[in-house]
């Protein structure tokens, strides 16, 4: 499904970026994108996956230690230790995920294991196979029977959640918490160690 969308959308994007540019092969296009990214990693890195439509994915064989900031939907199916923030976007914790981190997003779907505080401005969806140890702060919550949850639930009204002040840091001595910091890139992994097994 995604590959079909990408095929449909890629030509449109290249047209919109440089209407007068000569037609290039996919290989050349790919090389150009790579060289642009390498030349200016922080300033000119424009969101690409937004036009592609799919969420960013940290696969099940990926381990990240540090901070993750995302300006797009993000799926984590690997191991993460630190903090994850997807302001205004959806964060999915996949069934293979093992997360020891504070999470912050607009909407969070949990299928895997989390040890940390979870803060969703809109909604949290805890599936039956999920295991969550930590405190929850959200506007709406869905818990499937069979999910393991240990912690507290704070339901904040949507109006309060929309205010900037509501995006506060949830802290607990027992579990890691999120830190508020402006995202630098679309999906930035500020890690002390990111490994792929």
């Amino acid at each position: 499904m995604w590959s079909k969308r990408r095929e449909d959308e890629l030509p449109q994007r290249s047209e919109s970026r440089s209407p007068t540019a000569p037609t290039s092969t996919p290989q050349l296009e790919s090389q150009r994108r790579e060289s642009n990214f390498m030349a200016s990693p922080n300033r000119n890195f424009e969101p690409e996956t937004g036009s592609r439509g799919g969420p960013a994915i940290l696969g099940k064989n990926v381990t990240v230690k540090g901070q993750i900031f995302a300006r797009e939907d993000l799926t984590i199916d690997g191991e993460v230790e630190g903090t994850v923030e997807c302001h205004e976007h959806r964060l999915t914790i996949g069934p293979n995920a093992r997360v020891q981190a504070g999470l912050k997003a607009r909407e969070i779907v949990i299928q895997g294991s989390i040890h940390g505080n979870v803060d969703a401005t809109d909604k949290i969806d805890i599936k039956k196979e999920a295991k969550l140890v930590g405190d929850i702060k959200t506007s709406r919550i869905v818990i499937e029977d069979g999910a393991y949850f240990k912690g507290s639930i704070d339901i904040s009204k949507p109006n309060a959640a929309a205010k900037p002040a509501a995006a506060t840091v949830v802290t607990s001595p027992a579990v890691p918490s999120t830190q508020s910091a402006p995202p630098a890139t679309q999906t930035a992994v500020a890690s002390t160690g990111a490994t792929s097994r």
Binding site: I126, I141, V142, I143, E144, D145, G146, A147, Y148, F149, K150, G151, S152, I153, D154, I155, A174
Partner: protein, 211 residues
């Protein structure tokens, strides 16, 4: 999580077990008056997470905390459920893993039927810890099977339907540690300021304890 007991062993119950039934609960009705008449309360639910209970409690604007006491018991005591409770290391591990909250955190605790599966020394320590995490004046609701002849008692998942009705879904059965009559319960909660008992038609002794 679903359990059943076989020779005192705690195991998962088959999925084909009975469907949930609803019943009136005078104990919960009393508990609910506190929920309705106060705001910004902290409530502890010891049956694990459930949509119905979370929605009901947070619907009043209260905060809910979840702690699956029976799940922790299974983790700590395993197959040889009662003899493992006698080992000091296991008991210590259970107390470390359950009710890990600061003192005087909660205004109410929904303990349901979990206490009747703890043997006396550990039960007293657990109740002491439970009372410690409750604020003065806080309410505790606990259920004990009142059928004296029955060695193995049914286990339920309790889901709040409304301010006086509970849905209970069977999740197997388990041999209880002892029979709890009013006198035993009065002794168990002797540090509490008041106790109130309700007997239900389903052989349940509901107890409301005020700290």
């Amino acid at each position: 999580m679903r359990f059943s007991a076989s020779r005192g062993i705690l195991t998962r119950a088959p999925k084909s077990e009975g469907a949930s039934t609803t019943r009136h609960s005078s104990g919960f009705e009393q508990f609910c008056t506190m929920l309705q008449n106060s705001s910004d309360l902290s409530i502890l639910d010891m049956s694990g997470a459930s949509q119905a209970n979370v929605s009901f409690i947070t619907g009043y604007g209260h905060r809910i905390s979840s702690d699956d006491a029976l799940g922790t018991m299974q983790t700590c005591f395993g197959a040889d459920f009662f003899s493992n409770q006698q080992a000091a290391s296991n008991a210590h591990r259970f107390l470390e893993q359950t009710l890990t909250f600061p003192d005087e955190t909660f205004d109410g605790a929904l303990v349901w039927d979990t206490l009747q599966f703890l043997i006396p020394p550990l039960l007293e320590d657990t109740v002491a810890k439970l009372l410690r995490v409750m604020r003065p004046g806080a309410l505790l609701l606990a259920f004990f099977n009142s059928d004296e002849k029955r060695a193995q008692v049914p286990l339920y998942n309790y889901r709040i339907q409304d301010s006086k009705t509970l849905a209970q879904t069977p999740r197997g059965g388990l041999q209880r540690a002892q029979y709890f009559n009013n006198r035993v319960l009065e002794r168990l909660f002797e540090r509490a300021s008041s106790l109130k008992f309700f007997l239900t038609r389903g052989a349940q002794r509901e107890v409301i304890v005020r700290k």
